[in-house]
Amino acid sequence: MKGLARVRGATAMLAFVATPALAVSPATQATATARIFKPLTISRVQDLDFGTIVLTGASFSNEVLSISQAGTLTCGSNPGVLLTCTGSPQPAKYKLIGTNNATVTVSSPGFNMTGPSTLAFTPDAPATVNLGATGSTTGVTFAIGGSITLASTTPDGVYTGTFLVTADYQ
């Protein structure tokens, strides 16, 4: 019986050692993240128009004609004296449709307006646009203004140019 008891004891010890160790978890698990965006579309809503500018001053240079994103025209440093602005100026407008509440970066590089001569156009665009709560349905419209520099020697005529606007998710 003693021998039997010893055998039983040994068997019990073996069974104890053979028990698998418990799995160990970290105090804090890693997380996994993926950000999914719907396709982003951009479309033109309206063109930018400076209106009509009369070079009134006899001799001047570096007069900046600008229109803000909000559509406010600044007709040089001395409106009505050096430059006289008329017509219906308006900024360019674009519509973005994509993911609700996503923030989009806007790129609008400068370009040359061509006509009787060349005028360098400097855009005034928002760096980013948030698409808001209805970004996937109605989207959001944003405006781009800009500026040109005129002189009394600028050849008169109609100047036009084309924006190269792009947008991308942040």
């Binding site: 050692v17 160790a21 804090t28 950000r35 999914i36 965006f37 982003l40 609700n100």
Partner: protein, 154 residues
Amino acid sequence: MLSLAGPGAAATITTQVTANNVKPLIIAKIQDLDLGSVVLGPGAWSNATVSISQAGVLNCANANLTCTGATAVAQYNVQGSKQQAVRISAPSVTLVNQNDSTKTLTLTTDAPTSIVLANSGFPGSNFSVGGSVTLNSTTAAGTYVGTFNVTVDY
């Protein structure tokens, strides 16, 4: 070893028992997994996969997907006994859309089945967990987040 004697004599039986003493395992998170940003292409399509390997290589080779942003694999550190093999369990992770909890994605994990600890105790050994998700044109936009349930044992 077994010793036997005649009738009336005490019988003795001995059995050798081997115990493998090991240090308790410790596991800690080092960093989270991030698949970056994925822009879904237009039109109707399905079964586009974006994945990140254990080595941290992003695979977004699908015409319907555009992947941007920084990416990262999950990483853990394990400490225990030197030269001991440690089994790793990393089940799939459910990623939940943070704007709509009814929308989920399943991250199929890519983890080593085991590693051998390079040293005893500190600093232990690191391992990475990658994974993949399958996207469709109907996948809801938003930020999807889930939590791993990684465990280790000897």
